[in-house]
């Protein structure tokens, strides 16, 4: 049909032979996650900032440490434990908390921002499926942020222990008491379990819900994510004068809630027992939650496929 079809014979065939025609799905997922991190630097900057501020506060508090340790002999072992370990627990809680907040805001924007700035047209012009895109975006709150929180917390806690040790040694005091009450390896193990089980798996339906809303809403993703839940709670309260839905949500998010099976002293020093893990893995709440998460993500994939720029 065309008169020019032989202009550069063979050039396309050659390059087709040289270049692979298919890139493995794992590699596409890897690059998709990397691009999420390029775009959303708050994912690691926010926990790092929180850690830095906490460390500064902790360094200032170290001026009082030698005095505190001198009075330690008067305390019961429980009080002593509380006194020495508490800052380490706070550091973990603050960094994890900031990670959770960052994850929520990330999800609110993840599938909405690209439609809002029309860059979705660019992303969709590349051979990346909607499934891969949604999975890469779910990976950030469910895997990347927990692992980052873990790394940052452990580094922070090591720095805290190191500085405390230096201060005590500088004052000619013994560090044995400090090291006895801050078993970092055990704490790190507990923390890792807590983050993967709690923030990764237990919170998965929350993140998936928010991702789905962000794929659906034309604007005001935060309101669309939050208001339906509030509305259901109110409806239940007015209609039946009960608060099961609120309790259910509280059990998902609130720390120390009764039916939060993974939280058994998990960030304190209690050893990570096998039965804790097994109890968590066999709790129906976990699996029901994961089923909801899978359903929300499936809808999000569908919406990514169907919806255009807003």
């Amino acid at each position: 049909m065309t008169t020019q079809s032989n202009a550069i014979p063979g050039s396309t065939q050659e390059s087709q032979v040289l270049a692979p025609t298919v890139i493995p799905a794992t590699r596409i997922l890897y690059w998709s996650v990397r691009r999420e991190l390029w775009e959303n630097r708050s994912v690691y900057l926010a926990p790092l900032g929180v850690a830095a501020i906490f460390l500064i506060g902790f360094l200032i508090s170290l001026f009082r440490l030698p005095e505190k340790m001198r009075g330690a002999s008067a305390l019961t072992p429980m009080q002593l434990h509380e006194l020495i370990e508490r800052p380490y627990t706070y550091a973990a809680l603050l960094i994890m908390g900031s990670g959770f907040v960052v994850a929520l805001f990330y999800c609110l924007d993840a599938l909405h921002g690209e439609r809002h700035d029309r860059s979705v047209l660019f992303w969709k012009s590349l051979p990346v499926s909607d499934l891969t895109t949604v999975l890469s975006k779910a990976t950030i709150p469910m895997v990347i942020i927990p692992l980052l929180s873990f790394a940052i917390t452990v580094a922070t806690q090591w720095l805290m222990l190191m500085f405390s040790t230096l201060v005590l040694l500088g004052n000619g005091q013994s560090v044995s008491l400090l090291w006895m009450h801050v078993p970092l390896f055990q704490m790190s193990l507990m923390l890792l379990y807590h983050l993967l089980a709690g923030h990764g798996l237990w919170y998965a339906p929350i993140y998936a819900w928010v991702l789905m809303v962000s794929a659906w809403a034309r604007r005001a993703t935060f309101l669309w994510a939050a208001l339906p839940l509030v509305a259901i709670g109110f409806l239940e309260k007015v209609a039946f004068n009960t608060a099961h839905f609120g309790a259910f949500l509280g059990g998902r998010v609130g720390p120390g809630a009764e039916d939060m099976p993974y939280t058994v002293d998990s960030i304190s020093m209690a050893p990570l027992a096998l039965h804790t893990v097994l109890r968590f893995l066999s709790s129906p709440g976990l699996w029901i939650g994961l089923m909801f998460a899978a359903a929300f993500l499936a809808v999000a994939v569908r919406l990514r496929h169907n919806r255009g720029p807003v």
Binding site: M1, Q4, S5, T12, Y30, W31, S119, K124
Partner: protein, 294 residues
């Protein structure tokens, strides 16, 4: 090989029909200009071809159904929409790295070589680039993909004339090799005229003209006559007439009026092949154009 084949393509937004039974066939190696007024259905047609919007009817692009197989299709198809779609937070180097990561037929050195000829620096963010530079960047990405079909939706919208000229020059000299296929929509019809091998007019979701440039040249004639000869020319039933500087310019369609030929018209005045823009005005000027959805 047929690159795009559509039969009875329909798409409606609420009560308005954006595509009303479009039949389309684009062969390999063609450069097709899809031309129509605002809201004629051009972008909807392109979005259907790219798997960005669902449709009714039959559509195959490179043998695939774009709506269900977009991700596979995009290994062989690339797309530039108007300039706003590159993510503004992205750095130039990141764009190259990412596309190289996910696209099986992307040649990064080729893109870098193209960018080296521009003033775009790898460390710049897209938001720091001018509109023209963003288009250059997108073109660099697209030209380094060894794709079979390139779809351009108003690629030069909002660019100054230098960038527009450069854009089509690069496209013809560095990209088009006769085996690739390009579909382009634009309002700057005059600038693409010399680039196209085929032209298609679309209005209110329907195709009103579909022909190759050779056919267009053979079929349509534009006659410029002095007033004294105007009546004689009008007797030959022109499809359209306009007045410019005291002369009449008449357009003839030898496809409808088969007993007209060039020598006959040349006896009355100057005969030329009409520009696409004039032909567009002549064909669509006689129809109601407005009212369709964007």
């Amino acid at each position: 090989m047929t690159v795009i084949e559509a039969r009875g393509l329909r798409k409606s937004f609420g009560a308005t029909l954006a595509l009303d039974g479009v039949d389309l066939r684009v062969e390999e190696g063609r450069i097709l200009g899809l031309i129509g007024p605002n809201g004629a259905g051009k972008s909807t047609a392109l979005h259907a071809i790219l798997g960005l919007t669902p449709y009714q009817g039959e559509l195959k692009v490179l043998g695939r159904d774009p709506w269900t197989q977009r991700d596979q299709l995009m290994r062989d198809v690339c797309f530039i929409a108007d300039v706003a779609v590159l993510p503004r937070w992205m750095r130039v180097a990141q764009a190259l790295e990412y596309v190289a990561g996910v696209h099986p037929r992307f040649d990064r050195t080729k893109a870098e070589a193209f960018l080296a000829r521009t003033s775009i620096r790898p460390a710049s963010k897209v938001r720091e680039l001018s509109k023209g530079m963003v288009t250059q960047l997108h073109l660099a990405l697209v030209m380094a993909m060894d794709a079979k079909l390139l779809v351009l939706d108003e690629p030069t919208l909002g660019l100054d004339i230098l960038y527009r000229k450069q854009f089509y020059d690069s496209l013809l000299n560095d990209y088009f090799d006769g085996r690739r296929t390009i579909v382009v929509t634009t309002h700057q019809v005059e600038e693409v005229q010399h680039v196209l091998t085929d032209v298609m007019f679309i209005n209110r979701g329907r195709i009103v003209l579909d022909c190759s440039m050779e056919e267009l040249e053979a079929r349509y004639m534009e006659l410029t006559v002095r007033p004294a000869r105007a009546d004689a020319a009008r007797a030959l039933k022109p499809m359209h007439e306009r007045q410019v500087l005291g002369r009449s310019i008449l357009l003839f369609d030898s496809g409808v009026n088969q007993n007209i030929d060039r020598p006959q018209l040349a006896a009355l005045g100057d005969v030329r092949t009409p520009s696409i823009a004039d032909l567009f005005v002549a064909i669509l000027g006689s129809m109601p154009t407005q009212g369709a959805a964007q």
